[in-house]
Amino acid sequence: MTTKMFGAKVPRVEDQRFLRGQGRYVDDLLTDDPRLLHSAVLRSPHAHARIVDIDVSDVLDVEGVVAVWTYDDLAGAMAEPLPLLIPHPALTHGRTQYALAKDEVNYVGEAIAFVVAVDRYVAEDAVSRIRVAYEQLTPVVGIAAARAATSAVHDDVPDNVGARMEQENGDARAAIARAPHTLTLELDVERSACTPMEGRGTVARWDPDTSRLTVWSSTQTSTGVRGCVAAKLGLDLAKVDVVTPDVGGGFGVKINHPWPEELLVPLAAMTLGKPVKFTEDRREHFISSAHERAQQHHVEVGFDDDGRVLGLNVEFWHDHGAYTPYGLIVPIITSTQLLGPYKPQNYRVAFESLYTNTVIVTPYRGAGRPQGCFVMERTMDAIAAYLGKDRTEVRSTNFIQPDEFPYEHGLVFQDGRELTYDSGDYPASLAKLKALVGWDEFEDFRAEMAAQGRRVGIGLACYVEGTGVGPYEGAHVHVETSGKVKVATGLTTQGQGHQTAFAQIVADTLGVRFEDVEITTGDTRKMPYAVGTFASRAAVMSGSAIHLAALRAKEKALRIAAEALEASEDDLEIADGVVSVRGTDASIDLGTIAVLSNPLRYAFDEASKAATQFSVGDPGKPPVAEDDEPGLEGKDFYSPPRSTFANGMHAVIVETDPDTAEIRILKYAVVHDCGHLINPMIVEGQIHGGVAQGVGGALYERMAYDESGQLLNASFMDFLMPYATEVPTSIDIDHLETPSPLNPLGIKGAGEAGVIPSAAVFAAAIEDAEGFPITSMPISPSELFELRLAHTDEPHPTTTPTTAG
């Protein structure tokens, strides 16, 4: 009997090539092709300026330069703005940039000219010789400046408001007015970014013999890039293949597409008849990819003596940067996922999405949820502080209970579907978290530390994450005559171990050896129908599709085997790639079934002789039945009615230095519920990575723009990503497995979870250590020190009780 692979800590098959230096990332491709050309981009040095003139006359004198493009060289669809990927009725003033700037630049880093040369060094030499005359315009930097609107980013959007959106369930303002107690909070989160270790990159090769374009891109959506490249270059979709090779991390930024270079590289390859490569450098990644997180929130909450929220009214302002290619996804997620595991009786949320002269904002791991979680959890803590209650007690009072699922919030989620939670057990999760972190024993610990002159604090934060967002993913399973199983799914991989986790599913569902399964992702030649890897959806969507496709292949295998073995399908079982009749010695392997599934005229090896015309089949019937097709294959798609909602809770114990205000992590605990786990080792790895990114976002990382729109810390020297020395020395993890009823495997997404509660949980712990409210994240030791000085006399100025019960 085959060992069950689903749920096992199976070592990753992809590690072999990565560990030997044999991974193939986009910059590794075509390195042995002597015709390969390289590119570099001239980027705006100004945050807001009109382009008066571009002079490229010196460029072509540089030896080794092949071509240069500016906006004036673009034609047809390439001369139109880049697509607005996700339109929304509330996005009344959506704007996108051009592949190369037309007349105006709106952030430092915006692409202006594209140079192709024999190598990157020469291309950069050439870029430095392009002369651009600018007329400076006033830059709008930060939410306050955007709201003040004394200057506009886009002339035709004078108030800088790209969208206004409001949702309400019940009557929040009336409920707050009637509530025994109310509080208001002002909360801020600053900008950060994904910063994968590999930046963006694209290679394209035009094959004149077949009139086909192949594009390799470090993307989170091959099919998305393919659609855009075909549309922009005026090619039939069938002429364009997009392949996603190994990707050195994504975390959201690579779901946005097409980047200017994703179009300019194929354009250049077609125009020049030679392969062309673009590889982003680190500074470029900071100033010309995407950021996220910056929001300001105004919260009004009304609650009863138990801390039960009777009304919650949130207004917030979201900085979306210079353009809106990804629509309103981030603020919509914030506005809905803010609710977490709670059920405020009445909820209203309204936001404005604002233009600023800074890098565009698209989803970064968590995608608006960290801000929402921060706001809700700060509110819970404020209620607890006001009532003098334990913070876990106030949360428990507000939890959706296990018997209330499916729970309808009466709002519309990011996928245009009702915000309806499918399952969860929040009280059980909280009980686990309290035990894991030692919540009830903490006051003893605090006293013990205080006796040593040390200051410690504890915090917790809870979140719910909509995962496995639609519309669909598909899979194709093909059993070869060797018995090897080749599986393709269209979404991409950037470190999640899909080649392992998906093979585990196939091994169990089809009944084959794990080693015989090979998974391909992100290759439009193998699976042209796909959406992409984002929103913690890969395991749910492609995992389910692969399971369904493997079931189809299995059904066919059993049908053919039943015929060959002259047995009933009900008596058959498959294990290790062999179909056998229960209780007998009769068996047939999947390879042979694959041979029999494909009636042949010509044998190509010993095994295939069995499928030739004088060996097999009923001469009275067509070799392939009317409702059948040749080959042992299965193909299916999974399209859920709505997202499935994972959840979790984190707790942290921190120590703050009484003199330097440095913040040390003493203990970090995670309880996570993403339904059934395919590979617990991979899920824990995802949580570790999320927690580390969360530590970065809470304590170190921020995009430091000056008032002129220059990003002052656009390097790894100055943007403080955590090293091993900044993350917790251990992360205690406990799982709860509440299966999702929405998919056949009962799974929920796990990729983003680790980062969602970080700002909230650190703010809570630091607040607990210091005794004054923490309302703005990230927080540095200097900022904490300043807060200490400010709060020496006045302990609670930013959490304002507006009435007393």
Partner: protein, 165 residues
């Protein structure tokens, strides 16, 4: 514009000799990747902070993005491709990363593997703190370092298991 002067450079990498012609400004990282075709060495920042491009130069970990190819002429260079055992099996450090799930996207991994290979020669029996210190100059965005620290400790174990065998 004048033609850029090229220099004949003989690089000794993983026991092989690579004769390349490069301009003086060519980074060692680019020469390894693009002139020698050894794309296992990755470039994450080009300013010496992330450590992804770390190679061993005469046994010592060096950031190949901070070295010029012309300055590496007389050195013995080891890249990730050169870490495997003579029989093609994984080295203790590589095996430990597989055992401990010490990698996700794999992009920073070559720099960790080379750094730890050198680190364990200097500190064959690291404590957990020493293991953390050993990798404290390399950035990883995926793993949160938890399993990389474990990999360092596991690699030391494997080294001992193999030398005892």
């Amino acid at each position: 514009m004048t033609t850029e002067q090229l220099h004949d450079v003989r690089l000794h990498v993983n026991g092989s000799v690579h004769e390349v012609q490069v301009p003086a400004r060519r980074l060692l990282s680019d020469a390894l990747r693009h002139d020698c075709g050894l794309t296992g060495t990755h470039v994450g920042c080009e300013h010496g902070v992330c450590g992804a491009c770390t190679v061993l130069v005469d046994g010592a970990p060096m950031r190949s993005c901070l070295m010029l190819a012309v300055s590496a002429v007389d050195a013995e260079i080891t890249t990730v491709e050169g870490l495997t055992e003579d029989d093609g099996s994984l080295s203790p450090v590589q095996q430990a990363f597989s055992d401990c799930h010490g990698l996700q996207c794999g992009f920073c991994t070559p720099g960790f593997l080379t750094t730890i290979t050198a680190g364990l020669r200097e500190t064959p029996d690291p404590t957990e703190d020493e293991a953390r210190e050993m990798i404290a100059g390399n950035l990883c965005r995926c793993t949160g370092y938890q399993n990389i620290v474990k990999s360092v400790l596991r690699a030391a174990e494997i080294e001992h298991e193999r030398s005892d065998a």
